[in-house]
Symmetry: C2
Subunit: 370 residues, 2 copies
């Protein structure tokens, strides 16, 4: 794998050992992070961003790395998350391959990669690791914890496991528990990787790499991250030019197929397959109901936060807006001033990455009122 | 492959040669079909049923085969398609492996299976083959042509290519053209089969069979045939009993995963992979706009039929109800008395196979008024 960690990434050493929720522990582990803006004297202006499955910590350009980040439209001076006011920390998820310790890291006990010897990763482990970074930066209470997609799960775990860690919360296209449609999709993505003979029980190399499985997994991801509505307008039934089309009788013919292929090719060598399996499975396992006798609303109501915003796209099929509505309702039941907004973005689950015209004002209005 | 053709299946020999829309032809080809009820003296009470991708011609129990069929709740004496009144013909699609000639049939020219030497199959070819059966039965005009899913496409092709062939039409969860979300899903299903090394360019055997690819394709199908809403109620986050769960660390854990696995296992050896590829691709190619300068509504308006009903499930993500609305609108523009009904079935695209409480009355009311 061509592991690409953005320049300027910083690292925080986790307590060693760092125990996992489901058992096992890491020694000498680290979390990668980046920051924007300046922490004020009483450390009251800090925002933590926890991410979806694949992003690194480089959410936007900063002094250490002026290259645009994956949330460039949302984060920066004068932007919805305004770094003239806020000190922002974005962490790369524990278990990822973008600088934080994960299955693609070297196990110091053996000198070999962890691979499937990595402990069973839960969303809660990533949440605890993120909070270690926050504390190390001298922040005892965040102004806000912002989580997108998988990060929406991580943020809820941060809040539940660390009462008082944040005054407010923005949950974007997240959920309080995985539901069967999303579990089914992710299960199939993992199966595609595991079925690739080159996955080889996790013991692949750069030369013998599960490229087909990763391509399938990514294509299925992209299909479910976007929406049929967007694609109707974007691709329709447009065919590839004859020089782009595949000679294979069942090969690429329509633009939408080529779009998926392009996405898949850009992804497969830039994300570690075992890390993908671990992070994907951690989402399936996540369920706030575990903390409240099987009642997810009661689990949400255990969270103490002053203000919350749960937003999502009405076209999201992977984390449907009913799940963001539930987060707002549950946090409100726990005493928060909580609001839900379902946005008419056509881009489905990925809308928060591209539809800054809709997501930006919602985030800006919430943060400006803090 | 364990090719299973229901007992009592009848066969009609197609004209030889039988030319295909995109070129190529079949010699000595046949279409499998079954019938229910009695054709009246002036042959005015006939209904043709054209099916989705996988069903055989055994839509319901009949004298030749009393076993229940795949549309048992819809078809029979006193049922919504009432065989006390109607003479019903169901054809197995050309290109399938359930009795009609397809890629898994023997090419008489070579004595070998066609495999990828089968001509490029279009929906229109299946439509023409179905009409050959109708004519052979002494029916010059159908009372109604009923098409489900892919059969909804086939039915529209029947009507467009054979003006006057039917007085009325019921289109169930069908569409007048494939749109990019559905194309993307089907493209990925085909890719899963093609990537399986055992597919071997279509030259698999019973011993070297693309079982993994077919399982993946079927699971993706089942995911998109049903709806998230139904699964939330049906599976929730229920886990498998420990004795059912997989020992594999990334194996089956949730009921929804086991459900998919069961569906896939029942399918993979009962449907021919090459037939699946051909039929799947034929849906991607289907577009009534081809017949009207790129305007799908104008293509629909070219169809001459007196009455039409287009129905579907509001939870269908593969053939969304907007496509059935479009069919009704387009046929109305062509002069038909056409009605659209979007049903609140929770079962998604597959609802017409199971939700007889909703689909039954709609079909019955339409047919009773003929």
């Amino acid at each position: 794998m061509t592991e690409f960690i953005p320049p300027g990434t910083r690292y925080h050493a986790l307590p060693s050992p760092f125990a996992f929720k489901r058992g096992g522990e890491l020694r000498g582990a680290q979390v990668a992070f980046e920051t924007w803006g300046t922490l004020n004297a009483d450390a009251s202006n800090a925002i933590l961003i926890v991410t979806g499955l694949s992003p690194d910590a480089h959410a936007a350009a900063n002094t250490a790395n002026p290259a645009p980040g994956w949330w460039e439209g949302m984060l920066g001076a004068g932007k919805p998350i305004d770094t003239d006011r806020w000190f922002v920390v974005c962490v790369n998820s524990l278990g990822s391959c973008k600088g934080s310790t994960g299955p693609a890291s070297v196990d110091p006990a053996s000198g070999e990669l962890y691979r499937l010897g990595f402990p069973e990763l839960s969303i809660e482990d990533g949440a605890r690791a993120a909070v270690e970074v926050v504390k190390a930066l001298g922040i005892s209470q965040l102004a806000c914890v912002v989580g997108n997609s998988m990060g929406g799960m991580t943020a809820l775990a941060v809040l539940l496991l660390h009462p008082g860690i944040a005054r407010s919360h923005i949950n974007i296209s997240g959920s309080a528990q995985a539901l069967p449609f999303s579990i089914a999709i992710r299960s199939l993505q993992r199966e595609a990787i595991r079925l690739d003979p080159q996955w080889n029980g996790g013991r692949y190399t750069d030369q013998q790499y599960p490229e087909s499985g990763m391509r399938m997994a990514r294509k299925l991801g992209v299909i479910t991250y976007r929406s049929a509505l967007e694609w109707d307008g974007r691709f329709g039934r447009v065919r590839l030019d004859s020089d782009q089309a595949d000679d294979d009788p069942f090969g690429l013919e329509f633009q939408v197929e080529s779009y998926l292929e392009g996405h898949a090719r850009r992804f497969v060598r830039f994300f570690d397959p075992n890390c993908y399996l671990y992070l994907s499975r951690s989402m399936d396992w996540f369920d706030l109901a575990e903390y409240a006798g099987g009642d997810v609303m009661a689990g949400l109501a255990k969270i103490r936060v002053e203000k919350a915003l749960a937003i999502g796209a009405n076209t999201d099929i992977l984390f449907p807006v009913q799940q963001q509505q539930q987060i707002a309702d549950g946090l409100r039941a726990g005493g928060a001033d909580a609001q839900f907004i379902g946005l008419d973005s056509p881009q489905g689950h990925d809308a928060f990455l591209v539809d800054f015209d809709r997501f930006g004002p919602a985030v800006r209005t919430f943060l400006d009122a803090l």
